[in-house]
């Protein structure tokens, strides 16, 4: 920051504007100059290139991860933070391993305990993935069908769409109680909740996708003799597909954010329930391990959906 007054920095119009005001409002001027300096700093960095290995696109995220863990480890091993609030990386790793293995109930006991809450961590994850999978599948089927209907039939759109937006805005914790009273404490309630979280974004994306289809394409297919159903299947649907896939991607994100609410009651096995229960027991290492597992699983699922999107809409970005 000390080189903020170098000639290059004062070239910028922002600096010239704020410089006269500096005596009266030194703080504001300081920030403005500092901001310019950072931009300039980035420009000079270009002239001295980073070592080749640091420029690799694959290495950069890994370096950031290692740095993050190193800072985390340093902060916890220096006892800067109460381990109840931020346990060390080793404790989280230990909780993760313990939740996936068997161990004696207590030192010297012949009783062997496996996993956490009677299930291994990966089993909790698989069950949650199943619930999300079923909820998403129903959300995709119903969402795309409803989306098509709403896009094609104007009066239906005007009647139904406000309700879809209404559902979309509801916080899941607000109505989970209602679903429990209606459908009980079993998996039906959980899948309903995940479905209700997933389906509005898919409907909206489908409607947007179909409304955005180039009318000239449809009309030219029709004038070349295509029937209406054929034009729909081969022109409208593929053109709307990128938007629908985008909606599905957003919907999976909503489903993940809803999974803890869905599993609050009678959610074991389930990763959301495990994260919540371990929190109520002040077992923060396990809570953080669960959060990491949920985050990584969500990233992988997102990556899978992106892959499917590229597979089914290979023309996107090439037209």
């Amino acid at each position: 920051m000390s080189d903020a007054t170098t000639p290059t920095a004062s070239d910028g119009p922002t600096t010239t504007d704020t410089a006269p005001a500096a005596p009266t409002t030194p703080v504001a001027a300081g920030t403005a100059i500092a901001g310019t300096a950072i931009v300039e700093g980035a420009a000079t960095a270009k002239r001295k290139p980073m070592p080749a290995w640091m420029q690799s696109k694959k290495i950069q995220p890994i370096i950031s991860l290692i740095l993050l863990i190193a800072v985390w480890w340093a902060a916890t091993s220096a006892n800067l933070i109460n381990s109840l609030y931020l346990p060390s990386p080793q404790a989280v790793w230990h909780a993760f391993i313990e939740a996936n293995s068997c161990r004696p109930a207590s030192a010297g006991s012949s009783r062997i305990v496996c996993g956490e809450q009677q299930y291994f961590l990966w089993q909790h994850l698989v069950v949650s993935l199943e619930r999300i999978g079923i909820g998403m599948l129903l959300g995709i089927i119903v969402g795309v069908l409803v989306g098509f209907l709403l896009a094609e039939i104007g009066w239906l759109n005007r009647i139904i769409l406000p309700y879809i937006n209404f559902i979309r805005a509801l916080p899941p914790l607000g109505y989970i109680g209602l679903l429990i009273v209606w459908f009980g404490i079993g998996d039906t309630t959980k899948i309903w909740l995940l479905f209700l979280a997933a389906f509005p974004p898919i409907v909206l994306a489908t409607v947007d996708g179909i409304n955005g289809v180039n009318r000239d394409r449809v009309n030219s297919a029709l004038s070349l003799g295509a029937s209406r159903p054929k034009a729909f299947l081969f022109v409208v649907f593929p053109s709307a597909l990128p938007s629908i896939m985008n909606g599905i991607r957003l919907a999976v994100g909503f489903a993940w954010t809803t999974v803890v609410a869905a599993e609050l009651n009678n959610g074991i096995p389930g990763i959301g329930a495990l994260a919540y229960l371990s929190g109520t027991e002040l077992n923060t290492p396990l809570t953080i391990a669960c959060i990491f597992v949920i985050g990584i699983a969500a990233l992988l699922l997102d990556w899978l959906i992106l892959g499917i999107t590229h597979l089914v809409t290979p023309w996107v970005g090439k037209e």
Partner: protein, 364 residues
């Protein structure tokens, strides 16, 4: 033509991707997930093979019992861990569902998802009063809450409840602790406006404690131990308020429909729980181990927690049910009414107590 071929491929690929996803979820969704013990063939568990209460064994009942349990160190967890109910009802299907709060158990009773379940005395009274008036009965007392729920305050400056005037006290509203706290305030000649009450779930209390946002909390383990270790001292406890007529309990509730249809199952259930209560004093080590495997804490922790509760056997329960319990329920209902948690206090709470099974087991 080429466009047609391309889109046809796209549709085929979409269908294939959807199908793959569907089969992936379908593979495991059909069957129930096996537990970790079943998966690795761990047979070191404590499950018994023979019903330990031979006279209570019932192999005629072939239905399903849907049970709500909570992570509270009492005999119910021994019954669950040792598989006592499964052994004594060998032809029944037993479904155990975990709940975190009595309020959630009441909600599940309301949706007809349970046959029997554990709740504290405050939620139990709420369920049995207007506006809910759920068709349920109280069938068992798991424990009388003593030092397990205590008022812990920061530092050593607070000798009595009176010293906490104007301070921030955290408690989960609607819980048995809330009831005990208000009783303690009343006994000290104060009321809920004399202090600043904060509704807080136990797991959020230690963070608020460290930041100095609360001066005291009426709470149970593991948070109670955490706050004590973080410079807290015990001011009073539910054991003290119980002596002044405001006892709190963890109880078992059952639906009227289930009791009417299967009185024999109720007797078996009661006999099994009574046997497990006996185990706490006769075989403390194995009882504590059973509970610690479920709670995820150490055997020594559980032994310490035992001291915070009283576990009455069927004989004592028979006296409590026929004696002071209706009066305590009425007092609890009157307290809950002042909190707006219920609309009306019922005239007679003896009618929500089911004593046939307790009396039968007490005679044995």
């Amino acid at each position: 033509m080429s466009v047609n071929v391309r889109t046809a491929t796209v549709i085929r690929r979409t269908a294939a991707a959807l199908l793959a996803g569907a089969t992936l979820t379908g593979v495991t969704a059909c069957g129930k997930m096996p537990t970790a013990d079943e998966l690795v063939g761990n047979t070191s568990g404590a499950a018994v093979t023979e019903c330990p209460v031979a006279s209570a064994k019932n192999d005629k009942f072939t239905g399903t019992v849907r049970i709500a349990w909570q992570a509270i160190p009492n005999a119910d967890l021994i019954v669950k861990d040792k598989g006592l109910l499964e052994a004594c009802l060998p032809n029944a299907t037993i479904q155990w569902s975990q709940f975190n709060f009595g309020g959630d158990v009441i909600q599940a009773f309301g949706s007809n998802s349970l046959d029997i379940g554990l709740a504290g005395s405050s939620p139990a009274v709420r369920a049995a009063s207007a506006p809910l008036n759920l068709p349920i009965k109280v069938i068992w007392i798991h424990d009388i809450i003593g030092d397990a729920e205590s008022l812990v305050a920061r530092g050593g400056d607070y000798q009595s409840v009176k010293d906490l005037a104007g301070k921030n006290i955290a408690v989960p509203f609607g819980s048995t602790s809330h009831f005990s706290l208000l009783s303690a305030l009343h006994n000290a000649g104060m009321n809920e406006t004399s202090v600043h009450l904060i509704n807080l779930d136990p797991d959020k209390m230690s963070a608020a404690w460290t930041r100095g946002e609360i001066d005291a909390a009426w709470v149970w383990d593991p948070v109670l131990s955490t706050l004590k270790a973080d410079g807290g001292t015990i001011v009073t406890s539910s054991a003290a308020t119980a002596k002044t007529g405001s006892a709190t309990y963890d109880m078992e509730l059952a639906t009227d429909a289930f009791i009417t249809a299967h009185p024999d199952v109720m007797t078996t259930w009661t006999a099994v729980e009574n046997y497990a209560v006996g185990l706490i004093s006769s075989d403390e080590e194995s009882s504590a181990e059973s509970i610690s495997t479920i709670l995820g804490n150490s055997v020594d922790d559980v032994k310490q927690q035992f001291a915070g509760y009283t576990y009455p056997q069927a004989k004592d329960q028979s006296d409590i049910f026929h004696g002071q319990l209706p009066g305590i329920f009425k007092a609890t209902a009157e307290f809950l009414k002042t909190q707006g948690s219920l609309d009306a206090v019922s005239g007679d709470y003896a009618s929500v107590l089911y004593t046939d099974a307790i009396d039968a087991v007490a005679k044995e």
